[in-house]
């Protein structure tokens, strides 16, 4: 008998729905199956087994706000004459079946004209007839199928940025010109003194000149702009010598063909541009579907229900003002500091403080922005505007405005010395030739500036780091930019957040052992647990399979020990060993909740060790680093942690988000380079402040705050290897620099002795670039194979 859901493949836990001779784990999956069958789309299951996504029944299914005209206009791409085009971001798209199903929307609901999926970006563009079907209904249909669109404040300003294809255009034009200029350059390279060539060489030369114009005035312009920016700010970056190289090449070549001195170096100009742009394009190809720059906008909803004169109406977040009355439903986020007016509020602040405890609020109590309501709908009155609330203040903290000038640190620092040395060499040679044979001065000086163009140098870093970034991505460690790798190599302190980072997420595994509980007993326990806020009670409450609620009397909760109540005349006790009356020794690292009825212990619920797999092993490998743990919880776990972490580890409990940020800042003031691992909003300030901030995520599609990298929780244990690889990559970059310097020296030899013919330049420059690229590719792959050998499967 099958024990997994036919649609999504998950194990059947609480529910077991039998339909059409198949089993489903929930009503949602069964509904999707029905929809697919009804519309002849059973092929969905033929393509990939278990491809279905379990529709999240807890998720907010209210999309009415999409129909209000202001929001509608901002969200859609286009709407005219009944046809509307909208693009939704759907993070759960993950396989071919998803694409197939999402592109079959028309078969499910004829009012939808067509839908196209962009798999890399996890987006779907839907064209529908807005006279027949509303936008909110489209969103509802998607949600019903399990593909809930992610709509947040981000979507309002984000998605509209047009595709930046200019780099591609520049690259292609440079390639075109490069190939054709080489074609035209060949005659003069291979034929000496041929009469026909002598009379017609102008055709070839000016042809090359013409073809180099698009390169100089279109393809290479980014380098000129960057070099100019650098010079204006008195900062020499790698683009300065490159720009100098381009212009000297171009001007010298033009001069040469006008005065018939040589065929010019136009092929080198175009080749230079082509290779450099390939390097840039390579760098640009990062993960398109992941967002690293999330701030509060990606966390907040777009609209909230406002209560105006007794009627409920969706209103955009930006329109909310102090004094407004809003309605917040189950699982919705409170957008601004407010006071509770009506309803039973149980607020989950885990995103902000990290604590998963539900806090009960009474009428008149203040509720802070960022909390999530768990339970019935509540009415709130705002006491602050959205952007002045505590949460946005947190984001506005200085840490978030940190200078983003980390790019290519190594390359830029080298370029400063580089430029100075080259200018020195050029001046010295110039002076020498002035006295030796002054007619050659210009030729030699320009030749030096040409051949020392740091083309290969500029390619080393992007290619090596780019490859490393790809390799990391294959191992589920996604970094935002290559600068992060350079920082990782310099780390000396590592700071861990506790909850959710080194511990698994909130839903721990619970195993019951003891006398099997009858249905009545289960209902009794669940009814009692309902009254408790303790995180363990909440987890247990979710796990107990029982629909009925019995009346509870004499409820009493003893903090730290347990709770008791009378149900149907019988006294139930739920809590720790001593509380319940059992004594059988203590065992570290295991959390247990015992149940007794009328004094007789029935059994115990064991919460399995919540620390991540392989944590201790990983910590052992991190020996050379100094480690700290910051936690928002109290210090009850101190002993457990001391078992896992080495001596000398600093433990700090009860940390607020600001405390964490300050701790990092303090370390940095002591000249330490800090790596921080965290998981939620409560770490966001600290993550941003640290030199490298990594978010540990169980589901990379879920919100993660602004960070430098995201690591999939499954590969969390690989962190030491990632750090080691970063260190080695820096050494590899130096090696690549060495190779490019060698070429520069060979070239300099030709230049200084006045022998730099165009053909020499045309050969040396591409070869140096290609060899650096090949070195970068092979060395990184080989190193990766070496470092990640013998991976124990986690």
């Amino acid at each position: 008998m099958a024990d997994s859901c036919f649609h999504c493949g998950q194990k059947l836990e609480n529910e077991d729905i039998f339909f059409d001779e198949k089993q489903f784990c929930c009503a949602g999956c069964k509904t999707v199956y029905e929809i697919l069958n009804l519309n002849g789309l059973e092929n969905f299951y033929a393509m990939n087994t278990d491809a279905g996504i379990r529709p999240d029944d807890k998720a907010n299914r209210h999309f009415e706000f999409l129909d209000t005209s202001e929001i509608f206009d901002k969200i859609i791409d286009f709407s005219d004459d009944g046809t509307t085009l909208v693009t939704f971001h759907i993070p759960v798209i993950h396989c071919t079946s998803c694409v197939w199903l999402l592109e079959s929307l028309h078969d499910i609901d004829g009012r939808i004209n067509y839908s196209i999926v962009n798999f890399s970006k996890k987006e779907i563009q839907v064209s529908f007839n807005n006279d027949k079907i509303r936008l909110s209904e489209v969103a509802k249909l998607l949600t019903q199928l399990g593909y809930k669109p992610a709509i947040s404040l981000d979507s309002l300003d984000g998605i509209k940025k047009s595709q930046n294809r200019t780099l591609l255009y520049k690259l292609v034009v440079a390639g075109f010109c490069f190939g054709n200029i080489m074609l035209l350059a060949f005659p003069e390279y291979t034929n000496d003194n041929e009469a026909w060539l002598e009379t017609n060489k102008d055709f070839f030369r000016w042809g090359m000149f013409l073809l180099s114009l698009p390169v100089m005035f279109f393809s290479a312009t980014d380098y000129f702009k960057s070099a100019w920016q650098g010079i204006k700010n008195r900062f020499i970056n790698i683009d300065v010598p490159i720009a100098i190289g381009f212009w000297v090449l171009f001007l010298r070549s033009t001069y040469d063909i006008i005065f018939d001195l040589s065929p010019g170096y136009f092929d080198s100009v175009a080749g230079l541009a082509f290779f450099m742009l390939i390097g840039k394009w390579f760098q640009q190809q990062t993960y398109k579907s992941m967002a690293f720059d999330r701030d509060y906008k990606s966390f907040y909803p777009i609209a909230v229900i406002k209560i105006i004169n007794g009627t409920e109406q969706p209103v955009m977040l930006s329109e909310l003002k102090t004094g407004d009355r809003i309605l917040i439903r189950n699982e919705e986020i409170i957008p601004a500091d407010a006071v509770l007016m009506k309803g039973e509020a149980m607020i989950d602040n885990s995103f902000v403080t990290g604590e998963s405890k539900l806090i009960r609020k009474n009428q008149g109590d203040k509720i802070f922005a960022g909390g999530k309501q768990s339970g019935q709908a509540i009415e709130l009155e705002l006491i602050r505007d959205v952007n002045q609330s505590y949460l946005t203040q947190l984001w506005n903290n200085e840490a978030f405005h940190k200078e983003e000038s980390k790019l290519n640190k190594l390359t830029n620092s080298i370029s400063r010395y580089f430029v100075i040395i080259i200018l020195l060499i050029a001046s010295v040679s110039g002076i020498f030739w002035y006295f030796y044979n002054s007619s050659e001065v210009l030729q030699v000086v320009t030749a030096i500036l040409i051949i020392t163009c740091p083309c290969a140098l500029a390619l080393s870093s992007p290619f090596i780091l780019g490859n490393v970034m790809r390799i990391f991505g294959e191992k589920k460690f996604y970094i935002k930019s290559t600068a992060t790798i350079e920082s990782m190599a310099k780390i000396d302190e590592i700071v861990f957040d506790k909850t959710g980072t080194i511990t698994e997420n909130q839903n721990a595994e619970v195993v019951y052992s003891g006398e099997t509980l009858t249905d009545e007993e289960k209902s009794a326990v669940k009814s009692i647990l309902k009254n408790s806020n303790h995180p363990l009670s909440r987890i247990l409450y979710d796990k107990i399979d029982s629909k009925e609620f019995l009346e509870v009397s004499g409820y009493e909760e003893v903090p730290g020990k347990g709770q008791q109540a009378v149900v149907n005349g019988m006294l139930y006790k739920i809590g720790s060993q001593e509380f319940v009356g059992e004594n059988s020794g203590k065992e570290l690292n295991k959390t247990r909740v015992y149940v007794s009825k009328n004094g007789i212990v029935k059994g115990k619920f064991e919460f399995s060790n919540r620390y991540r797999n392989g944590l201790k092993k990983m910590i052992n490998r991190l020996a050379p680093y100094k480690i700290s743990i910051l936690s928002g919880d109290n210090d009850s776990e101190r002993d457990n942690l001391a078992e896992i972490f080495p001596l000398g580890t600093t433990f700090n409990f009860g940390q607020s988000p600001e405390n964490k940020l300050d701790y990092i800042r303090n370390l940095q003031q002591k000249q330490k380079t800090v790596l921080m691992l965290g998981d939620g909003l409560n770490d966001s300030g600290a993550l941003k402040q640290s030199d490298v901030g990594i978010v540990v995520s169980d589901d990379i599609n879920n919100f993660s705050p602004s960070c430098d990298a995201i690591i999939d929780a499954k590969n969390f244990g690989q962190l030491p290897r990632f750090l080691k690889f970063s260190k080695i990559s820096i050494r590899l970059i130096w090696a690549a620099f060495g190779i490019s310097f060698l070429y520069n020296i060979v070239g300099l030899f030709f230049a200084i002795t006045g022998q730099l013919q165009p053909v020499v330049a045309a050969i040396l420059m591409p070869i140096s670039s290609i060899s650096v690229v090949i070195f970068a590719t092979f060395s990184t792959r080989i190193t990766a194979g070496f470092i990640f050998r013998n991976l124990e499967s986690v």
Binding site: V99, S120, Q163, R165, Y169, V172, F176, L183, L211
Partner: protein, 54 residues
Amino acid sequence: MGIIILMVIASVSLAAVFLALFLWGAKKGQFDEDESPAVRMLMDDKKVKDKIDT
């Protein structure tokens, strides 16, 4: 030998046409995404399949 000049002009013009076509295609979004088209190609055309089955 003078024919080379004509040939060069012809081949560069042809290449320019290809360049123009590429740029036009890129502008229309042809090269934006390379993953879904590969997947989409493998899917059966539903209407044709129904015709074959019935």
